[in-house]
């Protein structure tokens, strides 16, 4: 067995996300968003990052607000239940970040191309749209067999994928259950993978169910114990979505000044998941607990 990859959040981010990295995160769309890791990017004052993802919800807006971002390659940046991401708007309107406009399908195909080790993937989407104007990773091609007009999507191989999961062992083998979005291809396509996990478990727990593993451990660079690391987004089996967190963030991010206050309180003053939970308060944490349970029918992986 190899050496342990267990690191603190700050060490994992310091080591595997240097300035100017291409970072893919928020790969399961509304679920499993790695907010704790995203906040660490802000705390460490990362600069010139390229953020890659499908819809991102408010995570990308926060990292933009933290001044860490040079470019975004994504399909959507905003606040799913309230609309605009205000830091993102200010940054694009002010010309301080570059944008590569994707759709959910093109960003998935870009990462699938990366995951499969090919320089592009074909799709039938976005033809006739202006995505071709603001995304040089898209080109119109003809099918060599049928002559059909297709969109070619150039591969993306991020420097690092940051993925939140339910549980992982210290060697990088991680279980995720729920909707998976573009997580599988993001892990496969990235040079490094940082796993943040609700729980660190023994390898026996992971090998008891190898179909739930999202990417093989040898491709993972760091494993971080990050309970509540996806709050306010939901994690199947652990906690529900905290809608109020998203609604409050909308108000907090309306101006640069109010965002600075938000960042001081919810990011810069937080140094551990205990800090974060204290800030959240017991009552709010309790409200997010699961009240209905479904435990899967057993299966057997024996011989």
């Amino acid at each position: 067995m190899s050496d342990s990859k267990l690191l603190s959040l700050s060490r994992a981010i310091a080591r595997f996300v240097p300035d100017s990295s291409q970072v893919v995160m928020g790969t399961s769309l509304e679920t499993f968003i790695p907010f704790a890791a995203g906040h660490e990017l802000i705390r460490q004052r990362k600069r010139d990052l390229t953020l890659i993802g499908p819809i991102s919800d408010i995570l990308f807006d926060q990292v933009v607000g933290g001044g860490c971002v040079h470019k975004i390659r994504a399909a959507w940046v905003g606040n799913v239940i309230t609309g605009s991401g205000y830091n993102f708007r200010r940054a694009v309107e002010g010309g301080t970040i570059e944008m590569e406009d994707h759709s959910n399908l093109t960003v998935s195909m870009a990462l699938r191309a990366g995951a499969m080790g090919v320089p592009f993937m074909p799709a039938r989407t976005a033809l006739g749209s202006d995505l071709f104007k603001t995304n040089t990773s898209l080109k119109v091609i003809s099918c060599p067999f049928t002559g059909d007009t297709l969109a070619a999507v150039a591969a993306i191989n991020p420097d690092v994928a940051i993925i939140h999961v339910q549980r992982a062992d210290e060697y990088g083998n991680a279980h995720a259950w729920g909707n998976l979005g573009i997580t599988r291809e993001a892990c496969m396509a990235s040079r490094h993978v940082i796993i943040t996990a609700e729980e660190i478990v023994s390898p026996d727990v992971i090998t008891s169910d190898p179909n739930r593993v999202i990417t093989p451990g040898f491709r993972v660079s760091a494993v971080v114990h990050a309970p509540w690391g996806a709050h306010p987004s939901p994690v199947p089996g652990y906690y529900n979505r905290d809608h109020q967190g998203f609604i409050d963030y909308r108000t907090a991010s309306k101006t640069s000044e109010t965002f600075a206050d938000w960042q001081a309180r919810w990011v810069d003053a937080v140094h551990s998941s205990d800090d974060y939970l204290r800030l959240l308060g017991e009552e709010r944490v309790a409200e997010l607990a699961l009240n209905h349970h479904v435990i899967p029918e057993a299966v057997d992986y024996g011989y």
């Binding site: 769309l29 679920t31 759709s103 039938r124 976005a126 006739g128 202006d130 909707n179 979505r241």
Partner: protein, 258 residues
Amino acid sequence: MGIKNKGYTLPQLMVTAAAREIADNEVIFVGMRLPMLSFFLAKSTHAPNAVGVYELGIVRDTVAPEGILTMGDLPNLFRAQWLADTADAMGLLQQGFVDASFIGGAQVDRFGNLNTSYIGSVENVDTRLPGSGGACDLASLGKRHIIIMAHQKHRFVPRVDYITSPGYGEGPGWRQQMGLTGGGPSAVITTLGVLHFDPDTCEMTLTSVHPGVTVDEVLENTGWPLQIAAELSQTPEPTDAELSMLRRFDPKGYWTGA
């Protein structure tokens, strides 16, 4: 807007009108916000066998057991039929297995092109909007899609500033010419009425106005000379049964409150 004190809200009327665009047994690619409620309403009334596909990698043929605000809320994963990858959902769409979907927008034009990206120009951005998400894919690949949006003159423009989600482009034949294999917008549900697309000209045409709304009001809020259907009707009001369903799906009125 003329529907005050009628016992329902404007969003409830719009959700109900949108739900009526879904037929039983159809496969629906379910988008966020009002479209999600429309799908739930259709499933619970006239389309019990409709199947919902969600871009984050969910297929389910039942309604979530509790009111939800995003498609990723855990009740929407609970006893789903399939939890998988975004690419799996998109594969169903791109293969042509999706009958209909719903898309919102900030700008729409007479040919149903939608903009949710840039107001102004790309070089000189007035307002940056969130972007496509899956909308461009739905507009490109579904058999048809239904647009839901506010009916205001600055939104209903002769030509959108940026095509995020292709409609009929510049008119008949454009989609084929671009390589889009089918589909296109079939209806627009607005805050003032319902519009459909003329099969010959691909132009948006007003087919019903909401209770209390006049045709002039619609024309004033549309940025081009709008076509009016010969048989213009009034949008049917939500029934009590529909309203009580909607209150179950949106118990706090987050989406459909007054």
